[in-house]
């Protein structure tokens, strides 16, 4: 037997796996064998470490050295130089303003982060219960079961100020208290892992990276309210999350941390996994409950709330994955410690999936109340390239866009809501000055129209109407009054829809109108998209002074709408142009410009089409 001297932690979060982390792991096994040091190195697959943009990433202990963008070819060098000769490979480390940063703790991306729910994510082997226990796992459960009454546990959560991390921010203790106070022969706890926002992967990373934490949190919640059965509702698109939660349940049952009479306290608990078919609306708690029951995943009116009549008519609590992930740490470190972080009404930390045009896209956890500026420019590393920050979309299809003026806003439930965005589940999409806000609003509206379950008409019909108006605007057929109509529709849909999906779906449109009204106006009045994103509201033009008459553009044009000769140079016939951009890409002298605004030829052409008399009409 030999002692291990190196712990190699390879990030096997979704981002790193698709960048090739598993192949790298295989290669490490091979190279270690070649060097005959297999017995000296532990290779550990961890959950998401966060900086997905730099993937595949890995951390090597005991030094804590952080490598980024590792390829299969780098493995031989890492083993030969670092593992055998003790010389860490500097070229794979993070570079910050000419400085090489070797240790993970010194990487700027991690500096403003506080990891609570993600505490073990990227640090332990998610498939090993022992490693979770080594970090203090199941201690909170043991203490709660043996030393606390259910009401005491609820009081701890009340003092901590924990609120639902799934979007709404409903105080967690109130839900628990309601179910606790109900008399029933059976109560249920459900973990909502139906994460559906575009660009969000917080819950997925937690379930994949630290499944035992979620299990422990769920059992503490179940004990506090008197539930003996739990369900994990996880999207079928998250096979690894499902596998790991199932594995965690097995492992916990094996040692008696789950099952009958846990910790000799008389408390028994069992949990199962239910997979969701990927409908966005099933993240809504009533729809989710119906889906578990085997019914169609449609929401039903509230009240009755799930706390009164939930799963199979029994009192039920539905908590989000991240909410549950915070619970074990709150009990271990105390409610006061948790309440010490964050702002006045929003306590603790929040996990965000940072995506879009920022340098460090990835999974981050920051204290509540941190400003958007800190989140985007310090943690996120600022914008890619020389582009300017334009807007940030928080809360996915339910949220809204905020602008440069809001960068110093603290990120918490209230201040975001006041400004027309919302915390949501934590998707943060950062956009630069090349993004058209009307188009962004259209994208989210399109998503909500697709995902609307169709049960109530405001959502089913109203959203479709809004989408059609947005399409008309981006196609260059916008009319005066469209903006007001969008606002009117949006406000009615928010008020009249049955569930959260419809109630929040107009937010992206309403918030972009609120902050980028001039963009809507120029789309409608000037038929111009300043960012040149909307195809119908921009055109390509050849500058005859720069054109060398090589004919390459004409040959690459799929609709043969470019003509000319070496002497006359080339011209685009706008009515035939499909805006494919081939000519722009192939021009060797960059003589083709993208110009905002509809070309006069097209304006004329459209007017002619509109005025054309049908010969069959009188």
């Amino acid at each position: 037997m030999s002692l291990k001297r190196i712990d190699l932690l390879i990030c096997c979060g979704s981002g790193c796996v698709s960048a090739g982390a598993l192949k790298i792991k295989e290669r490490f096994h091979e190279v270690l064998k070649e060097h005959k040091i297999t017995s000296e190195v532990n290779i550990i697959e961890t959950g998401c470490m966060g900086p997905c943009d730099y993937g595949p990433v890995m951390v090597i202990y005991p030094e804590g050295i952080f490598y980024k963008k590792v390829t299969v070819d780098d493995v031989a060098e890492i083993v030969g130089e670092h593992f055998v000769k003790g010389r860490p490979v500097a070229r794979l480390m993070m570079q910050e303003e000419e400085k090489t940063i070797s240790a993970q703790k010194d990487v700027p991306f991690y500096q403003k982060q506080v990891k609570v729910a993600l505490g073990n994510c990227g640090y332990i082997d998610p498939e090993s219960m022992d490693e979770y226990i080594a970090t203090g796992g199941y201690e909170a459960l043991g203490t709660v079961l043996t030393e606390m009454k259910p009401q005491d546990a609820i009081n701890v959560i009340k003092e901590s100020g924990l609120r639902g991390r799934g979007g709404g921010g409903f105080p967690t203790h109130i839900k628990w208290q309601m179910v606790h106070d109900r008399k029933a022969d059976q109560k249920y706890i459900i973990c909502n892992g139906d994460e559906g926002d575009p660009g969000a992967f917080m819950d997925r990373s937690l379930l994949e990276g630290d499944p035992h934490r979620i299990l422990e949190g769920m059992m503490i919640a179940a004990y506090s309210m008197g539930a003996s059965q739990g369900y994990f509702y996880i999207r079928a698109e998250y096979p690894l999350a499902i596998k790991r939660i199932k594995m965690a349940i097995e492992q916990a049952k094996e040692v008696g941390l789950m099952g009958e009479n846990i910790f000799d306290s008389g408390f028994s608990f069992d949990a199962e996994v239910r997979t969701g078919a990927g409908a966005f609306v099933c993240g809504e708690e009533m729809a989710l409950i119906h889906s578990i029951e085997g019914e169609r995943g449609n929401p039903t009116p509230k009240p009755p709330y799930p706390a009164v009549q939930g799963l199979w008519g029994k009192p039920t609590v539905v908590n989000n994955v991240e909410t549950i992930g915070n619970i074990p740490t709150i009990f271990r470190k105390g409610a006061e410690w948790f309440a010490g972080m964050g702002s006045e009404k929003s306590k603790g930390t929040k996990v965000f999936a940072l995506t879009g045009d920022v340098k460090n896209t990835g999974l981050v956890e920051v204290p509540m109340g941190i400003t958007l500026r800190e989140l985007i420019f310090d943690v996120g590393g600022g914008m890619i390239g020389d582009h300017k920050f334009k807007a940030v979309q928080l809360g996915g299809p339910s949220g809204g866009c905020l602008t440069v003026d809001h960068l110093d806003t603290g990120v918490d439930y209230e201040s975001l809501k006041e400004r027309g965005a919302m915390m949501g589940s934590g998707g943060v999409i950062v956009m630069n000055d090349e993004k058209c806000m009307v188009n962004v609003a259209k994208f989210f509206m399109d998503f909500c129209v697709e995902e609307s379950c169709g049960k109530c008409s405001p959502c089913r019909i109203g959203l479709k109407q809004m989408l059609e108006i947005l399409e008309r605007i981006t196609d260059g057929y916008g009319r005066e009054g469209d903006i007001e109509e969008l606002q009117r529709l949006g406000e009615s849909i928010s008020k009249l829809s049955l569930c959260g999906l419809g109630q929040t779906a107009p937010n992206p449109v309403l918030s972009t109108i609120r902050y980028f009204r001039d963009e809507y106006e120029s789309h409608i009045r000037d038929r111009s998209c300043a960012t040149k994103v909307c195809n119908d509201l921009m055109h390509y033009d050849i500058d005859k002074d720069r054109c060398i008459g090589c004919s390459l553009c004409a040959r690459k044009c799929p609709t043969v709408c470019i003509t000319g000769s070496r002497d006359e140079k080339y011209t685009i016939h706008q009515t035939g142009c499909v805006k494919c951009g081939n000519c722009f890409d192939v021009c060797p002298v960059k003589a083709i410009d993208k110009v905002p605004g509809m070309h006069p030829e097209i304006v004329e052409h459209r007017a002619a089409v509109a005025n054309a008399k049908n010969p069959y009409d009188d």
């Binding site: 002692l3 291990k4 005991p62 003790g86 203490t143």
Partner: protein, 121 residues
């Protein structure tokens, strides 16, 4: 598992397995593994350390490595770093000397002065 004490037992064992990732480390052994060190047998020295420590089940000792230490004539060179004590550097190490260092220095806390090249930073 029925009590917190049972849980604690598992935790202590698991923490020991994870000590490389930080935690309760009393003595850190740093082996110089530059080219000259390896040429002089640093790998054998490191291996012996790993085996001896595993055999004695010394849970609070960590073995790691570093590059060239600049003392080529004394290779293999090994540092023993103990919390709150001056660093001890041993030179001209070999597996037999390693065994003695493990018994004398690491287990019994007596520096093996015959092999010491320097002490302190």
């Amino acid at each position: 598992m029925k009590t917190l004490a049972d849980l604690k037992k598992i935790r202590e064992k698991a923490q020991e397995d994870m000590k490389l990732r930080g935690g309760n480390v009393r003595i850190k052994i740093v082996v110089g593994m530059g080219t000259s060190g390896i040429a002089m047998g640093a790998r054998e020295v490191m291996k012996t350390f790993l085996e001896e420590i595993a055999a004695r089940n010394l849970s609070d000792v960590l073995v790691t490595q570093t590059g060239e230490k600049g003392l080529s004539s004394m290779e293999p060179v090994v540092d023993l770093i103990e919390e709150g004590k001056p660093k001890v550097t041993y030179g001209n190490m070999n597996p037999d000397k390693v065994k003695k260092v493990v018994v004398e220095h690491i287990v019994n806390g007596r520096v093996v002065s015959d092999y010491v090249v320097s002490t302190g930073d």
